[in-house]
Symmetry: C2
Subunit: 392 residues, 2 copies
């Protein structure tokens, strides 16, 4: 209990703020994880019986979901049935003491429960209401259900990810959820800033589908100007060259020479007389001739191992690096030096899982190397009820 | 000029705040685009001569980069050589009038220019300093150069994206940059909240590599528990089934039945007697038997077009949808209803490009359907100099 953010004070930006978190699975819980990392206390309200769906997601360790544990660390849990009179009373007391409410129901569900934005804003004008849903709370298809995979597909990211002329692939990380969770976090933080001036909370309405479109940058620019949607381009960037994987003697590595000066330096370093060649002298020309350029570079790189080239190019100031598997990343000296792999403790205080650290490094924000346990379902009921009594 | 956020007042959370933006290419400019959408004035400081690298990135329209235009709309531009005495004087006046400084130089560059965090914090204690770099300002490899592709590869996302037993592919969107830009935005917003309490700015140090690790969620959980790093799984989620693409008569579509209740409903809707089958009755079992499950579902779906199944499953409440190309997404009725495709105007006020709208929909934040033009290099020099004189 003492490891939650209930009694934080001082340095963390969100110290003293309480998040009442009705969300489950990933987008919402990812947002409340970030708010917790920034110092907020998060009270997770789960449905009685099963709780958050991800409690049943593999992989498991000692019968508990590691997936759940690594996203929900340091949060408190209370199980409430929002159709039950007595539980509603608890929820309403929690609302009156919270700064931020997060929910990811389908649009309309909160209204039918009597907790829609209009009602809540009238009763709790300071409360910030953050909603994340598949398609948002407006528009003709607001009521459709969605998961990550649905918005990755419908939102265009899948259509530009994969190998040319093969079936599209999913982005291996759940960016359909995570991007939406990150925009929700931004909206909540912006609403806190606005509240300082106005005293009023506001509603934030994040759609997972909108969030996918917001990631597309160059693909939108290309489609807008040419009328043609880009296709997947495998391992290369569609608008920069050379900016892709290359074969070394022992496997693939990456070179990303993002401007003319870096390309000229690459040519010197690899002893390739291409910098003045009109086919390669500007980035637009290099993009047109990217396949040929890849072969010319590989004619040099194929003879020695990737590590040799990474070392040589790094010394010459050219962005390059290995393609690492997740276990390799988790042991990467730079990642470890940045405290980006943290231990999630169990109830006895021993490390039980590892999770991603907080990527938002701030000079006045503590950056601990452990996280309090994820809660068991309803674990903090008594504690939370006592807190409500004490402070009512 | 009047379309920039210089004179915004009132509703927008960041109205009245000034961002001095030294960043180029994507991560930093993406962050300052969001800050602009939230109401901040952004003054883009570019190097004389060429300006931001992306001014040379295709695609072009009338000789201007659409890539640059769709990320830098509504910003002001001044070209300054930070080694020139007279330009340094302008920069220092700008510093004294700004709330937030953003930079994406390699660590140490700002210190050598005399504008490192320690110096700036001593002279401008209220100033928030947001840095984004490839590997962060600490750790053994802080000085290595990076671009999106380098951190996608080294950070593990590529290793789980693509088809099993084929070469890894890049995520089609530049999430190496964009994720870092989004965490930078979160850090800046959190620092503004902290400044309300302390009056002091702080330094935010975002690494693109850290940001990639922070997206990996289930891959870290899997590696942590099993010791084995996940491999790419093509178009399916590694921990949920059915959650992937399926063949219909006319092509692929997506079904994402993320829990037992949805799977049971799917079985009823497709008339498949699998809900009680021990091979499929729980999500862990469905994951083990995902290939078989895909074939059994496709045995039904292969006979009719995707639209038929999307309609039928949607009516049954099952998350499903098409795989859209970027031109299709940009005409999606739900996307258009959400104002997620906006016009970037040219200097005469006519629509010149389309760009992604603001995904952060807030009840008290205006959501215009146009954006002011991206600046020409040094376009606002005179205006900015007059503003400095007037207010000094």
């Amino acid at each position: 209990m003492s490891q939650s953010n209930e009694n934080t004070a001082g340095a963390a930006p969100l110290a003293g703020l309480t998040v009442l978190d009705l969300t489950h699975v990933l987008a919402g819980p990812y947002a409340s994880m970030t708010l917790s990392d920034l110092g907020a206390r998060v009270i997770k309200v789960e449905r009685p019986g099963l709780g958050d769906d991800t409690r049943a997601f593999p992989p498991f360790k000692d019968g508990e979901s590691a997936y759940f544990a690594t996203i929900n660390h340091g949060k408190e849990s209370i199980a409430l049935n929002l159709k039950d009179t007595s539980d509603r009373s608890v929820f309403e007391q929690l609302l009156s003491k919270s700064d931020i409410l997060l929910e990811n129901y389908r649009p309309g569900v909160m209204d039918r429960l009597g907790y829609g934005w209009d009602q809540l804003h009238a009763q709790h004008p300071h409360l910030i209401y953050g909603a994340v849903s598949g398609f948002g709370h407006t528009g003709p298809e607001a009521l459709r259900p969605a998961y990550d995979m649905v918005v990755q597909a419908r939102g265009g990211v899948m259509s530009i990810t994969g190998e040319r002329d093969r079936e599209p692939v999913r982005v291996g990380a759940s960016i359909g959820d995570i991007a939406a969770g990150m925009f929700l976090t931004q909206g909540v933080l912006a609403a806190l800033i606005a509240r300082e001036k106005t005293g009023l909370g506001q509603k934030i309405d994040i759609a997972m589908l909108d969030s996918q479109l917001a990631l597309l940058e160059h693909a939108i620019a290309i489609t807008s100007v040419t009328g043609d949607a880009p296709r997947p381009s495998g391992a290369r960037h569609p608008s920069i060259a050379p900016f892709e994987t290359f074969h070394a003697k022992d496997g693939l590595f990456v070179i990303a020479a993002g401007n003319d000066a870096l390309f000229a330096q690459l040519c010197v370093t690899l002893n390739l007389p291409l910098a003045q060649d009109p086919r390669f002298s500007t980035n637009p020309e290099r993009c047109k001739n990217a396949r040929l350029l890849k072969r010319l570079i590989e004619a040099v790189t194929i003879d020695k191992p990737a590590e040799h080239w990474i070392e040589l190019l790094t010394q010459a100031g050219i962005p390059t690096g290995p393609i690492q598997t997740v276990d390799q990343v988790m042991q990467d000296p730079q990642i470890l030096a940045r405290n980006m792999v943290v231990d999630v403790l169990d109830q006895s205080g021993s490390p039980a899982y590892v999770a991603a650290g907080n990527p938002i490094k701030m000079s006045a924000l503590p950056d601990p190397s452990t996280r309090a346990p994820a809660p068991k379902l309803d674990e903090h009921r008594d504690h939370i009820l006592r807190w409500l009594e004490k402070s009512s």
